[in-house]
Amino acid sequence: MMLEVRDLGVRYGTKKILNGLGFSVKEGQWLMIAGPNGAGKSTAINAIAGGIDYTGSIRFEGEEIRRKKPAQLARCIGVLTQSHPVSYSFSVEEVVTLGRYSHSAGFLSRRVEGKDTAEAVNAALELTGMTKRRGQSVLTLSGGELQRTFLAQVLAQDPRLLLLDEPANHLDPVYQKQIFDLIRDWLKTPGRAVISVIHDLSLARAYGTEILLMNHGTALACGTADEVLTPALLKEVYQMDVYGWMRELLSQWN
């Protein structure tokens, strides 16, 4: 088991955001976390990324993540957030290069990037289609380009587990497909897994190997798409006929 989450609880003040959430991810799996707004999906990602205090346990290959040093954790788990506020004109390449930080964060090696840095950065830029923009200031990028820049950063980081919060955000259909295919390819290398928060259930169905349906800070169902995305469960969570809506949307295309 790569990641095991048990009885996860997170609260902001008196408000419980997550309450007894539990699930696990194996190598080679792409877990899609779905659920309505406010279900606690992003908070779950945030907790696994080590960004907030939590109760319960989150173990990466048996080790509690809060015991890991930041650089160690970054080599295991990489995160792509939804929004990317940037205020200085760093170049795309500079941002992507920072992804290699955890691979040379030692005291003596801190000022020099490792030998494989250039290689990893070039590969990540190539994969995300940002090679041509590598010298461009991030302040001049569009939302989609910014998203791809930070995706390149996390790919350069080369984690074992990739956490994606709404990766389709800001992306046009061309890049949506490209990015999702890219991540599926990335996942083919042994020893890797992906967790992503996603609203688009069609995408979840198409790319996810497992789906976790969340509501009110806890897991409602977890399993394959056919097991989880049943009309009854979706009706319970979204309070509407999701199947009907999806069909209606698709029917326009005929």
Binding site: L73, A74, P85, F90
Partner: protein, 354 residues
Amino acid sequence: MPVNSHKKRFSAADYLLFSVVTAAVLCLCVCAGSVTIPLKETVNIIRQALYARICMLFGAPASLPEGTAASIILSVRLPRVLCVAATGASLSLAGAVMQGLLRNPLADGSTLGVSSGAALGAVIAIAFGITFPGLPFAGTMTMAVLSAFLSLLIILGLACKLDRSLSTNTIILIGMVFSMFVSSLMNIVITFAADKVQQITFWTMGSLQGKGYSEALILFGALLLFGGILFFHTRELNAFAIGEENARHIGVNVRRVKLVLLIAVSGLIGICVSVGGVIGFVGLVAPHILRMITGPNHRRLLPASAFGGATFLMLADLAARMLLRPRELNIGIVTSLAGAAVFLVVFWRAGRGK
């Protein structure tokens, strides 16, 4: 679309270029001053003094140059210019780091009130007689560094509570609130120590007149120590400048690095203030102008800011000494004039950006 063609590193050639410019300005500031001394004589005096020093080093008998011109150059101008250069470099470095940490080009020791906080520490040390026996500067210095650190903690705390994204308006607001707070505390201290009003006033005005080699040594020591620490954290600073959350995700030990950076910044600001009082806007002007040349990458920005800050403050000091001869302007007036202009430009750009 504009292409960011900045290099990543501060190359040997860049170092050479910046040091040559800084050294040239240093020479200019030693040669020019309130009293006019012919260039030839200045060069002679410095040559003789160097020669004598080298002779003494090897135990050979030698005498230092004498006379009024020699006194002016060796005892008044040179140590003062050195102090000014070290102060400029330190304040500018501190400004650049704070702008990276807070992701806002308006953040600076003076705009946020950290310098006033440090001055308050120095004033408290004087008013309540906090001294360390045998170490003349240690009392005010320690208190200044400590209260600069405390000020930074308060400011960051306020920033966190008020507005996590740290917009320009928040920075200005925090700076205003904190400076007002410090200035009222200062007034309270003054009521308790009315007999030391003159000493206390000094800290709020700032002057590097009459500073000697020992002060220059302290300032350069601090610059070397704390500046050195900062130079080892350029990648983390880049990460912070892009975003604190992103920094955590790529594996930066946010808490520890932030603490180290804050200690280094307080050290720089505290020691500068305890020697020369509050000299505003240096940390705003120099990094801002240099960022336009080097780009935001701290690996280039930090060394450039150090050299640029030294150059800027030396020129400001030269203006302060020369403009109203034989009178002298307060150096803070000159830097504030330049600072106000840069402040407006930054603010205007930020406003237009929205």
